[in-house]
Symmetry: C2
């Protein structure tokens, strides 16, 4: 049996027909047009799903259900988006509206959790039941799955992994607090520290790789410079690894999952990142002699939103 997974983003809506092994048989996308009335956007999602089927020789009869990953806070009991800032949505009954347009069961979940489902089903979390996904991008997002059940909180405001506090009185976060994990473990942290190094140290490899222009500094600039043993970049990378490991230790000491999966832009640093964060985490473990979470790199990639959405029916509630 096939399912449709829809990844609703602030910029585009991507949909795919997904088989039971998590393989995407076909996919398509359209601009979201965020800011329009919710029912218009949901109508576009339904039209996208219909045309995806028609254009690829499928019919609705081939489809078991439709999963949707949406930004924002979800009320799971009524499958409603309570609040999604980048869509300007408040209390949008996505499941009800979508099911009125397409006569198939609809599952709705937060997009970060959907990505965690994808890792669990077909990615670095395959074979596990308890995983935490850390998406190291502009911010730090992620999802928590325990016993094949998505942990998103009693009020839908949990699993905001970027916003647990690892540094009281630390760097200011746009959320209003200080010292949130994502201030120290996101790609933005690497970029900010890289820009500082560029300004302070014109002899650094970061400076030359960015042609002296702060706007050219990316997370990859810092990582590539550190790989080449540029002292300024190595100092930044070590600092980054320390904070990332402190966050991972907090996750281990509270949730103790089977595996922690690193995704997002920074995870493209690959084994260089993985080896360093594994070593630092080992140093900081509370119970050094007892088994603990594996740390792995995400393997699903950009289609995690589509694939995870298609597997939402597999999660226990």
């Amino acid at each position: 049996m096939l399912n449709i997974g829809i990844d609703l983003g602030g910029t585009k809506i991507a949909a795919g027909v997904v088989d039971e092994e998590g393989k995407i048989l076909c996919k398509a996308s359209i601009p979201t047009g965020a800011g329009r009335p919710a029912d218009e956007i949901i109508k576009d999602m339904a039209d996208l799903a219909q045309s995806l089927l028609a254009d690829n020789g499928f019919s609705l009869n081939d489809i078991c259900h439709i999963g949707i990953g949406s930004p924002g806070i979800i009320n799971r009991s009524i499958s409603e988006v309570v609040f999604a800032s980048n869509l300007c949505w408040h209390n949008v009954p996505v499941k009800r509206l979508f099911e009125s347009m397409m006569n198939k069961p609809v599952f709705l979940e937060n997009d970060a959790n959907t990505a965690a489902v994808a890792e669990l089903m077909v990615g670095a979390g395959k074979g596990y039941s308890d995983i935490v996904l850390l998406t190291l991008g502009t911010g730090v997002g992620g999802g928590i799955i325990i016993n094949n059940s998505i942990i998103s909180g009693s009020h839908g405001i949990g699993a905001e992994i970027g916003h647990f506090i690892i540094h009281a009185d630390g760097m200011e976060c746009p959320c209003g607090n200080k010292g949130c994990f994502e201030r120290y473990a996101s790609a933005s942290a690497l970029i900010n520290w890289g820009v500082e190094a560029l300004k302070e140290n014109p002899g650094s490899l970061i400076y030359s790789m960015a042609c002296g222009n702060p706007a050219n500094v990316t997370a990859q600039t810092v990582v590539d410079s550190a790989k080449q043993k540029d002292p300024a970049a190595m100092e930044i990378f070590e600092r980054y690894i320390k904070y990332l490991a402190l966050g991972i230790i907090s996750i281990i000491n509270i949730i103790d999952p089977q595996v922690i999966v690193l995704g997002g832009g920074v995870s493209k640093a690959g084994e260089f990142l993985l080896d360093a964060v594994r070593a630092k985490t080992e140093e900081l473990l509370l119970f050094k002699d007892l088994p603990h979470a594996n740390i792995e790199l995400s393997t699903v990639g950009n289609d995690a939103g589509i694939i995870g959405a298609a597997f939402l029916d597999r999660m226990t509630v």
Copy 2:
């Protein structure tokens, strides 16, 4: 039907016959004699349970099951204590040994989680399914229950709530890390800061209440002085509340329980503590307009270990 709850501690073993409403009908205790072979201690526990029944006119037929709360890391799949430092236990098959001595089903759980079960069943968490208990004592312990299921981790090393890191590069913790939550939110934190104030400020109320002797400073000294608006004590209490609220915010942003219950010695500060921590937490919320966890004071008291153990059968696995 009645059950027996046993609270195995490093100093004493307490057992009680508990009815279905969580009322203790009778109880007794003996010294643990920690350091002795595990089977001797377990034999003492079984003898204590037997004599408790006999001395109070009950028989084993009145009892449905026996629950045991033990310190240390528990392997739930085999009901074994993997490691308990204060008992010097390694891989002790408590359930198997106990069931061989008393022919009743035995449930084994970590003692901090057992206290959380007591709050859930008959205390401040009654009527909820998702709670986090914070025990603010010498350290910070606690338990996490989601959907009536104890969250203690894939390897049994989770719910170490005192050891998530809220202050990178902060105060050293005996666990080897820096900035653990319990360094800032335990009774010990209040005492340490109170002793500093006494030494630096002989005019403070803390100084006079402790008769100038640092050894006399307790958490209550600081709290009582703050209640009387002693400036040094108020500054310490506000600092304590800030860090406690930072930890609570991290718990809300990750776990988002229905209720966070404050227990342990510091919770005896009552409404004075509760009002302050509720107000500070409100300030720091990520989603200020959305519903979030209630914060409440523990109501179960010293028998939480016995009562929680007696209710272990009610937890879903």
